[in-house]
Subunit: 373 residues, 2 copies
């Protein structure tokens, strides 16, 4: 049977049915009660949670139980340094930053230069490392708290990671990686080993404190397969299973089913894009509009299949009331795609202008964020 869509840490294609993905992966949907629980504890709830951009989880309730008992959790997220950062990459970082600020907790930020070397056609590991340090500027520019953030590259922090990675690896067979990732005999042995490395940061704080510390991982749902393995292994090593918060993937500017790819610049807005590039790309984006202006005025358009609307909803319109205005005026035909794109472009350009400024400042602060030793 042909798959209608595929989601793995290294491959995403087709129109993703997110409800079906919850079933496939065996995760839990984020229900209104859980969102209300967050609001009660944090005094507030981030739009990405209330709007279902972060829509799935594992054990988030348990994380909050522990927090209410006084057991602070740690956050863990990561970045595979394969290219420049685009908005899709920043999606989980934004919620992670919010969680860090609201709960005042430590964040481990893993940069998987080994992974990107092993899985991508980098000529050398140094190419992955160079991109890693470029990406770190975008991470810092996202606004994490330097006192609570620990960024590290796998190859540089390896003396702390490898002893934990081999402990994980001992409990994971090739069969498991085959079942979970679809690995074949032609996969290289670094790819096969790699999931052990992605497991490690879940346990770093427990190791540092010498006692079990809960860990929660905000990430794209495509990363869940790694942590399914980690969750199976964790108790065997005497650690808590990591909890997860899964977000949907920001759709391609070319439509929900289109491939979002750093190698096809028209499908994504990069953090480094100029105002001109940003406006052009948004101008070329696929919308839910009608074939003609007249038709659109008469019948209205469809925001629910529109990637421009998705960008309002996922990131750029925090105000619920105005988001409703965008939605409703789109549906009624009062709003046309051109003006709607221009309005989004203004927001994205303003967001990126601030990001560029923070990114330049970040150059002088990298070491404050890095986990060395």
């Amino acid at each position: 049977m042909a798959e209608d869509f595929v989601v793995t840490p290294w491959e995403v294609h087709g129109v993703i049915d997110y409800a079906k993905l919850i079933e496939r992966f065996g995760t839990q949907p984020i229900q209104p009660e859980l969102i209300e629980r967050v609001r009660k504890i944090a005094g507030d709830v981030h739009p990405m949670l209330s709007r279902g951009i972060f829509y799935s989880h594992r054990d988030f309730n348990w994380i909050l139980d522990e927090y209410e008992k006084g057991n602070r959790f740690v956050l863990y997220t990561g970045r595979g340094p394969s290219s420049g950062i685009h908005l899709g990459h920043m999606l989980p970082w934004i919620l992670t930053r919010w969680l860090q600020a609201k709960f005042q907790v430590k964040l481990y930020f893993q940069i998987t230069d080994d992974e990107k070397f092993l899985f991508k056609d980098f000529e050398s590991l140094n190419d992955a490392k160079r991109i890693a340090y470029d990406n770190i500027l975008d991470i810092i520019a996202t606004g994490f708290d330097p006192k609570l953030t620990r960024i590290f590259l796998d190859t540089e922090y390896i003396h702390h990671m490898y002893p934990v990675a081999v402990r994980v690896a001992k409990h994971v067979t090739f069969s498991t990686t085959r079942a979970v990732f679809g690995f074949e005999h032609s996969n290289n042995i670094g790819e096969i080993f790699y999931t052990s490395m992605q497991a490690v940061p879940c346990f770093l704080e427990s190791i540092e404190q010498g006692k079990n510390v809960p860990c929660i991982i905000p990430c794209g749902i495509d990363q869940d397969p790694h942590f399914r393995i980690t969750r199976d292994v964790a108790p065997l090593l005497g650690f808590y299973k990591p909890a997860l918060l899964h977000c949907k993937l920001l759709p391609s500017l070319q439509g929900f089913g289109a491939k979002m790819s750093s190698s096809q610049p028209e499908t994504v807005i990069f953090a480094a894009d100029s105002e001109k590039e940003t406006r052009r790309k948004i101008g070329n984006a696929l919308t839910g509009g009608r074939a003609t202006l007249e038709e659109q005025r008469r019948l209205g358009a469809n925001p629910d299949i529109c990637v421009v609307y998705a960008n309002y909803q996922y990131i750029f319109e925090p105000d619920e009331d105005h988001l409703k205005v965008v939605h409703d005026t789109c549906k009624s035909g009062a709003r046309l795609c051109g003006e709607c794109k221009a309005e989004l472009a203004d927001k994205v350009v303003a967001f990126l202008a601030k990001h560029h400024e923070r990114r330049e400042k970040a150059r002088d602060h990298v070491e404050e964020f890095m986990l060395r030793d």
Copy 2:
């Protein structure tokens, strides 16, 4: 077809046909011309070479070619810290020490604590590490030159090793490890990755010097499969292929076909054995003797199937003339097993007494040998 004998880095059983192993592994026999070449260059030749204990190689001629052109090689050997050291482990170290002294070259000595944790039933990685440091005392006691020797544990030197290991891993598929080591889907992903780590020391000196340096690995022939893979990968990374010198495996005291096992103490003499234990074990060893004294006096015995004679030949009788006396008097029936064992036991006891003394002294010198950052 059932295998008559099996030799892999993790499993040895059956009576090994060493000539057949050369064919299976695709290595070269060490011919008399090569031995004479060593004698010419080194001024001398070690009995392990002239007697065919080290009997197979890859590219040893090339190593000597380069040496004569003024390109010094480096030595690399290793130890998997699974138990206390026995005489079988020390066999390749003894030739390595001789090569180091004669050619005045650097030796990288890898301690594969990760391997022994991944492949053995150690409860924790620390158990492998504890045994590693115990084994290091025996390594130092063997008499390596501290100025020319660099000992390291994989998990401790990992910051230098891992970036090289992933470069190797990228060029090795699961298929290859399956073909070379017989791995199955049930192997753990650390075991599958591990050969990348054993490849790394071949390249450490080239990386340090920033130019290609020839490397030769004296080791038991059971380790060759790792380096067959390494030799395939090396040119892809721009390094020389490592050369090898393979020794036969010291037979079990219970006979050539018997399993030599640290868990069956009567099969091996440990470096830590007392005089009493040593004498008892040699006393119980299987010989090529006859059923009765009378028969032996009359028909003679067979040194070629005798593990006591093998111990004379492999390690304990450097003098060719006396070795011939032992051989001939055994064959003629003039020498009986009891006296022959007693003579060997005297030699082994003297050897171990000196070793124990050096081992105690080694405790204060570990750091002189360790490669730390």
